[in-house]
């Protein structure tokens, strides 16, 4: 009975904590989502176990997935949005965009619109930042992306920065380094002058 009381107490206490955390993390969903094409447009769902297996995405339940945070010089955070700030914000800083809760969907749409019909795009947010260059600030989402182009070939992974408003990809890096480079050959042709 005492155990039950304790559990009840913890449960009641947890509700406001849960919602506070949930509100704080609005648009900060850091789980994997799968995007794919359908006749109605782009569909999305939480990435399933089977998909993770196919796309070789790490299942969060096995290991704590902690993304890098610089330990030596912790980046300052913007109090309002809890985003890491790269550069300096002052009263003259001009904000070039504003966060948009729909950014991930727009980004996925953009990728899918250039890929084959069976492609799946897996996206996970790693970090939200504000980047300030020459007095101009941009809200940026930093993501991990895995693209499954077809059922047979191994998936590609990379990291990207995405405009937090327009969902436009700004920069990519850390693409998977496959040893078999035969797939890099996109054409074989006889050149006729």
């Amino acid at each position: 009975m005492k155990l039950f009381k304790n559990i009840l107490f913890i449960a009641i206490l947890s509700i406001p904590v849960y919602y506070t955390v949930k509100i704080m993390n609005a648009n900060e969903d850091k789980s994997w989502q799968t995007y794919y094409k359908s006749p109605e447009g782009t569909n999305v769902h939480q990435t399933t176990y089977k998909e993770k297996k196919k796309a070789r995405i790490i299942s969060d339940s096995f290991t704590k997935d902690k993304k890098r945070e610089p330990a030596s010089i912790p980046r300052p955070r913007d109090k309002k949005t809890n985003r890491e700030v790269l550069g300096k914000i002052d009263k003259n800083t001009l904000f070039e965009n504003k966060p948009n809760s729909n950014w991930k969907k727009i980004y996925a749409d953009e990728l899918l619109s250039k890929l084959g019909p069976d492609s799946k795009v897996f996206i996970k947010k790693n970090l939200g930042i504000i980047r300030v260059i020459a007095g101009k600030a941009t809200y940026i989402e930093q993501v991990q992306v895995t693209i499954q182009n077809d059922k047979d070939s191994p998936p590609n992974s990379f990291e990207a920065q995405v405009d937090a408003q327009t969902g436009k990809q700004l920069s990519v890096w850390n693409r998977t380094n496959f040893e078999d480079t035969k797939k890099d050959i996109i054409m074989k042709k006889r050149l006729v002058p």
Partner: protein, 799 residues
């Protein structure tokens, strides 16, 4: 190495440097004294060890200490071999615990091994790790144990290097290793390195993925019992990629001011990637002391193993450890020792030049400094780490304690410079590696067993490899300060050939094309998919797509409105030597002023009457943008490469895309990149697809002629062509000029300030007073024309 293998465990929790240093001492002592001698196990009837849990102590198992070819001494070992017979009877320490995992928060030595990404960690409730070699449990123990050995060695060697600079008795020498390397956790990603011992979808393949910080090992597609994990040298190669990734980001991570990682190599072929492969091979030598990688996994059934020294039997006749016989640049860039008559453009083959050089350097260190081979490998490792920490620094500092703008231009431009404008080539890597040899061995004889290390021997060895491609050691990088240039002894450049940039031409031989245009629907759709898979920074324009496919590509071999086209510029090597590391840039640069193309470059184009901006009327043309248009250091801009021909007052003039839009009433909303991207509204080269690489061009030939196969065909990777998106709004008949820049690795006059006429008119030393003849061009110069050949590619858009 044997000590490490027997102990195999190194688990320091580093909070403070002091704790770290004392732990290091304790660990070093432990290496020699704490390891209990373990033996046991009984021979099975088949002659192998019965590798069962009853035969080992808690925490122990048995693994293959090398690949089956080496262990058996049989180079034609059958795939049906019972690998148990190759296990030693003595036990190997694996891990004290129930999982193949080092759960270590804030600990850089963190890694785990599973069968593949989605299977759970294998649990050994009795904490014993001995399994039959045919099992997938064995595969995981095999991978984990070798990861443990190699990561331990990495940490030990990195720690001891670090302590020479920041320990109790610091050498006082300059280094690229950041002081906070260990306290900031910069030696490792914060997420653990994940090893996947057997990936079902990787036949004849393996990978290192920096974004997921994981390594996946595949298997032989025909003999599926031949698994890559059975060959530790393949794992060492993959771990080598992980260490390259770490080192490239030591400084970037420690700075805390940069959010993106640097990569050694960006395109399907570039010299950075080739060097990355060569270093990854070297990491197998670093572990084994044997200059050959992949005898079992890649070599036995796939004919893909790679040697790392000229004396290897696999090499063709003529290759030897003599000055003449070295595997030199650029001659052997396309050489496959397994198929010597073929001629490839492939990063692993090209990388052999780097691995052979590094092994030869290691052996030379043994002679020069009376090192044993093991210590010489460790010292070479140290130089590699420093070279990469410097070259990869996106915070632009490079050397600990130095000011910014030393390397990779500025933090905002760092990726653009590393990827495109000033990439890591055989030249740049050799120069930086040599810089650290000079600032260590050649400066402090105590590092060389109190022998005086004469830098001439390095220059001569580099020259044997065709790698004495640089003229000075670039000690201070791009920083603006008064300095005495540390020159290479020119007499040492005997074998290395440097070629003047004016020998690189657009093919003008009669009957030959200036460029090949790829615009077929199927090829370009495939290319678009490939580019969208993490190659291009932005995204391809939605204006040229419909329902996931290109809308306008017609395959007529011309540039048409609405197409995505690939351009193979037909560059011709007019010299009598092989040109190598040729790259064409179609990215923005500082070549226009107030919407007009400047005409003060070597192309003298266009004239003022054709709309050109002269220096006398547009003085801004004579100054390169100081930070490539970012706007921190000055307000100069960079402009897209392509500009347009327009008719003004009945005369044909060259104008910017914005001017052309206004003239033809094209709305900003029609722009390829949307209404905010008017500068490259009508034609643009997608960022990341705006570079073309040619591994080499033989004398009096083009790239296509150099690499054509016996059927008269050429293979194309995305890296051979640059891409253009063409707006559907361009009126057919419009003539376009794209002013490209080209450079190459063994270029005589692309890298240094000379007193010769460059053909470009620039106001010298405006902002950097210490520039001097012979010095490397400062990084800002790469926004302009001086380090490049300027090449105009003209075409008319035809429907």
């Amino acid at each position: 190495m044997e000590d490490l293998k027997r102990n195999g465990l190194f688990n320091l929790k580093i909070k403070k440097q002091t704790i770290f240093m004392s732990a290091l001492v304790a660990y070093t002592l432990c290496l020699t004294s704490c390891v209990p001698s373990q033996s046991g196990g009984s021979s099975s009837s088949s002659g192998g060890v019965a590798n069962t849990s009853a035969s080992v102590n808690i925490g122990y198992g048995r693994v293959l200490h090398d690949n089956p070819i080496i262990l058996s001494g049989n180079s034609s070992l059958d795939h049906t071999v019972n690998l148990n017979s190759l296990l030693k009877t003595s036990q190997d320490f694996v891990i004290d615990g129930q999982y193949l995992q080092k759960t270590c928060v804030d600990d850089p030595h963190c890694f785990e091994v599973k069968k593949d990404s989605i299977t759970s960690l294998y649990q050994s409730t009795n904490q014993k790790w001995a399994f039959d070699t045919s099992t997938v449990e064995f595969d995981q123990v095999q991978m984990f144990t070798h990861m443990n050995w190699m990561i331990s060695k990495y940490n030990t060697d990195l720690s001891s290097t670090y302590s020479t600079y920041y320990g109790s008795n610091p050498s006082g020498l300059s280094t690229s290793l950041p002081m906070s390397l260990f306290t900031s956790g910069s030696t490792w990603e914060t997420s653990p390195l994940r090893g996947y011992a057997l990936c079902d979808d990787l036949p004849n393949n393996a990978f290192f993925s920096p974004s997921t910080y994981s390594i996946c090992l595949g298997f032989d597609s025909i003999y599926e019992d031949v698994k890559f994990v059975q060959d530790p040298t393949t794992l060492y190669h993959e771990l080598g990629h992980a260490f390259v990734h770490n080192a490239m980001n030591f400084r970037t991570r420690a700075s805390g001011t940069v959010a993106i990682d640097s990569n050694l190599g960006y395109f399907s072929y570039d010299e950075g990637k080739a060097i990355n492969e060569g270093i990854a091979d070297y990491f197998s030598y670093y572990m084994t002391g044997r200059a050959h990688v992949g005898e079992w996994s890649m070599g036995r059934f796939l004919n893909l193993s790679r040697p790392m020294e000229e004396s290897d039997d696999l090499h063709v006749a003529g290759i030897s450890e003599t000055s003449e016989g070295r595997l030199s640049y650029p001659t052997y860039l396309g050489y496959d020792p397994n198929n010597p008559e073929e001629n490839y453009e492939e990063i692993h083959y090209a990388g052999q030049i780097m691995s052979h050089f590094l092994v030869a350097f290691t052996k030379d260190l043994q002679t020069a400094c009376s090192f044993n081979n093991s210590y010489a490998r460790t010292f070479t490792f140290r130089l590699l780490m420093e070279t990469m920490a410097y070259l990869g620094d996106f915070s632009s500092i490079g050397i600990e304690g130095a000011a910014t703008y030393g390397v990779n231009h500025t933090p905002e431009n760092a990726k653009e410079w590393l990827q495109k404008n000033k990439p890591i080539t055989y030249r740049r890597f050799s120069q930086t590696f040599s810089r650290f040899v000079k600032s260590s061995l050649a400066t402090d004889s105590s590092l060389c067993n109190f022998n005086s290390y004469n830098i001439q021997r390095l220059e001569q060895l580099l020259d044997d490899y065709g790698l004495l491609l640089f003229k000075n050691y670039d000690m201070n990088g791009s920083r603006s300060l008064a300095e005495t240039i540390q020159n290479v002894e020119e007499l040492n450049r005997q074998k290395t050939v440097l070629i003047k940039k004016n020998q690189l031409l657009v093919d003008s031989r009669s009957g030959n094309s200036k460029a090949f245009i790829f615009d077929s629907y199927s090829d370009m759709n495939a290319a678009a998919t490939s580019l969208t898979n993490g190659f291009i920074d932005g995204s391809l324009s939605t204006t040229i797509f419909e329902n996931g496919n290109l809308k306008y590509n017609n395959g007529n071999g011309q540039v048409s409105p609405g197409e995505l086209v690939g351009i193979l510029l037909n560059l011709y090597n007019n010299s009598n030597s092989t040109m190598a590391g040729v790259r064409i840039l179609a990215n923005d640069w500082d070549h226009m002023q107030d919407g007009k193309p400047c005409n003060n470059f070597e192309d003298n184009f266009p004239s003022e009457s054709q709309g050109g901006a002269s220096v006398s009327n547009y003085p801004g043309c004579a100054e390169e943008a100081l930070d490539n248009g970012v706007g921190v250091l000055d307000s100069q801009t960079v402009e897209p490469v392509c500009f347009f021909q327009d008719i003004q007052d009945d005369a044909a003039v060259w104008v910017s895309q914005e001017t052309f839009m206004a003239s033809r009433a094209i709305e900003a909303t029609e722009c390829l990149g949307g209404s905010s991207s008017t500068k490259d509204c009508l034609i643009r080269s997608p960022k990341g697809a705006d570079v073309a690489w040619y591994s080499r061009i033989e004398p009096k030939k083009t790239w296509a002629e150099t690499l054509v196969d016996s059927n008269g065909e050429n293979e194309f990777k995305a890296s051979n062509i640059f891409f253009l998106e063409v707006s559907p709004s361009i009126p057919p008949g419009t003539t376009v000029n794209c002013r490209l820049r080209a450079s190459f690795t063994n270029c005589e006059d692309c890298h240094n300030i000379t007193s010769d006429d460059t053909g470009n008119t620039y106001t010298s030393n405006v902002n950097t007073p210490f520039e001097q003849v012979g010095d490397e061009y400062k990084d800002y110069k790469y926004s302009g024309a001086d380090p490049f050949r300027v090449i105009n590619f003209q075409f008319t858009v035809i429907d």
